[in-house]
């Protein structure tokens, strides 16, 4: 198909952009990036995960610039990311070293360290709080002080910085389909185009940076009958994950900071071969993403397991899942339909007119 370059929209586009920028300021209201960062935790976690770029500062800026449009904010961050050099790779980061702020299991009631609810919307009535309309900065400070004044027990008793995994329970009973440690360097979908069959590291990388809605919808479809990976959530943990790097030629690692991380391990019954016999054990479906994005991580664990076990349904089909869950690819392709397709459409129109003429002529004959 040939493309025809046309001009003439420059002034209209400039005026359109003026309108767009005006939309952000027309109410005369102003929101600082610092305020967004301090109050929009959920949004920031959401777009850091989808953009695959961990920076609360840049995520807050993207939110301001995009007027809260998630699709646009992720686009801005992915674009910005592409302008920056990759200076380092972290050393192996293991969520067993996470400073846990929340950890629950839907599989065992009693777990080492206990069910720690941390902070979550799960236990709220979903009723609008109209008092927030009148909330002032003073109110916010008072609420902060009230929380900080709550008496806490003297001395902690749970090792939150090294909390055992719930899956260790199953491992101790020999009920886990266990795998040896594999330190093979992962593939990187930002450096190499995806080809099929994909590697496990490519699948996990695409799922973790996938569009939240897309991942959750496909995970849900998998549960509803389009897949056969039905999990029990073994563990959801959210917390601060320390990150280290190793500088060239230097022995000691370097701590560069910590990131908020969600990790999910789902237990899925599977037949495993043991000493030539088929026995029942549990597979793990794995999900992990930047920020506190629990639903996404659970859905990711369903899809991870489904893609590890190909079957004849869409959710178990790696091409179907992996090629459609990326925010930029899916929103980019759908939104490109708004762009001028004059020639394509004219050619379809001409074809239709011709067919209609021909069929009219044959009727008259």
């Amino acid at each position: 198909m040939g493309y025809v370059a046309v001009t003439g929209g420059k002034e209209a586009i400039e005026a359109s952009l003026q309108h767009l920028f005006y939309e952000r300021v027309k109410h005369g209201k102003w929101l600082s990036v610092e305020t967004i960062k301090g109050t929009m935790r959920g949004f920031i976690d959401h777009i850091m995960s989808e953009s695959s770029l961990y920076s609360e500062d840049l995520a807050a800026l993207a939110m301001k610039q995009s007027e809260g449009n998630v699709e646009e904010a992720v686009f801005l961050l992915r674009a910005h990311r592409s302008t920056l050099p990759r200076l380092y790779y972290s050393t192996i980061t293991d969520p067993r070293d996470m400073f846990v702020h929340r950890r629950i299991s839907a599989s065992f009631k009693e777990i080492p360290g206990g069910q720690i609810l941390g902070s979550s919307h799960d236990y709220l009535h979903r009723l609008l709080d109209f008092s927030l309309i009148e909330e002032t900065e003073e109110d916010v400070w008072q609420k902060k002080l009230d929380f900080e004044a709550i008496e806490v027990p003297e001395g902690s008793s749970i090792p939150l910085e090294k909390l055992p995994k719930v899956m260790d329970y199953l491992r101790a009973e020999g009920l886990l389909n266990d795998f040896p440690v594999n330190d093979e360097e992962p593939d990187d979908v930002t450096k190499m185009s995806l080809t099929f069959p994909s590697s496990r590291s490519e699948r996990l990388q695409i799922l973790t940076r996938g569009q939240t809605g897309g991942i959750v919808s496909l995970g849900y479809a998998g549960l509803r009958g389009y897949g056969s990976s039905h999990p029990n959530v073994g563990e959801v943990r959210v917390g601060e994950q320390p990150i280290h790097i190793q500088l060239d030629g230097e022995e000691e690692e370097y701590y560069i900071g910590s990131i908020k991380l969600t990790e999910v391990e789902s237990f899925i019954p599977a037949n495993v071969s043991e000493n030539g016999k088929e026995v029942l054990a549990f597979d793990i479906g794995y999900g992990a993403c930047f920020g506190q994005n629990e639903t996404k991580a659970i859905a990711m664990s369903i899809l991870d397991h489904a893609l590890e076990n190909p079957e004849d349904t869409p959710i178990h089909d790696e091409e179907f899942v992996l090629l459609h869950v990326d925010t930029i690819e899916s929103t980019g392709f759908i939104s490109h339909l708004k762009l001028p397709h004059y020639v394509t459409f004219q050619s379809k129109l001409e074809q239709m007119r011709k067919i209609k003429e021909e069929s009219g002529a044959s009727v008259n004959e």
């Binding site: 961990y54 500062d57 920056l84 380092y88 992962p186 590291s201 996990l204 560069i256 391990e265 992990a288």
Partner: protein, 140 residues
């Protein structure tokens, strides 16, 4: 004190102390800026627990600075855009490698920071522990 702990203390609870340490060095020695503060990315390699393999979960924004003091190079890396802290960390790193006498008394500063971080973490832990569920069996 090992570097991972030192950098953790300065990044988590010792920004002001890091800048003071760096200023002390700048006052007494020639600090050559090899790489001015610049932003870049660090790709995070994560261990997944289903098959015990590795994958890349995404990148984190960092600021990196490199300096030279005497015959020693120092590197400062910190998350987000923070030129001042990154440069201070680079100077401190080079000072330790060059074994400058100032680093000996920093030990006590770092010990204080260690205690501060422990106290802060303990406070957070105690507060989070309040959210632990204590199950009771209902009597029927």
């Amino acid at each position: 004190m090992k570097r991972p702990l030192r950098t953790k203390l300065l990044i988590e609870v010792g920004h002001n102390e890091a800048i003071e340490m760096a200023n002390e060095i700048i006052k007494n020695y020639e600090v050559q800026e090899i790489q001015p503060p610049r932003q870049g990315l660090t790709m995070i390699k994560l261990r997944e627990s289903a098959k015990n393999s590795l994958f890349y979960i995404g990148e984190v924004l960092v600021t990196e600075t490199k300096v030279k003091i005497g015959n020693s190079f120092g590197t400062g890396i910190v998350m987000e855009e923070n030129n001042t802290l990154s440069k201070a960390l680079a100077i401190i790193d080079a000072a330790y490698k060059e074994k400058l006498p100032e680093t000996e008394k920093w030990f006590y500063v770092l010990k204080k920071l260690e205690l501060k971080l422990q106290n802060e973490m303990e406070k957070v832990k105690c507060s989070i522990e309040r959210t632990k569920v204590h199950f009771d069996t209902m009597k029927v």
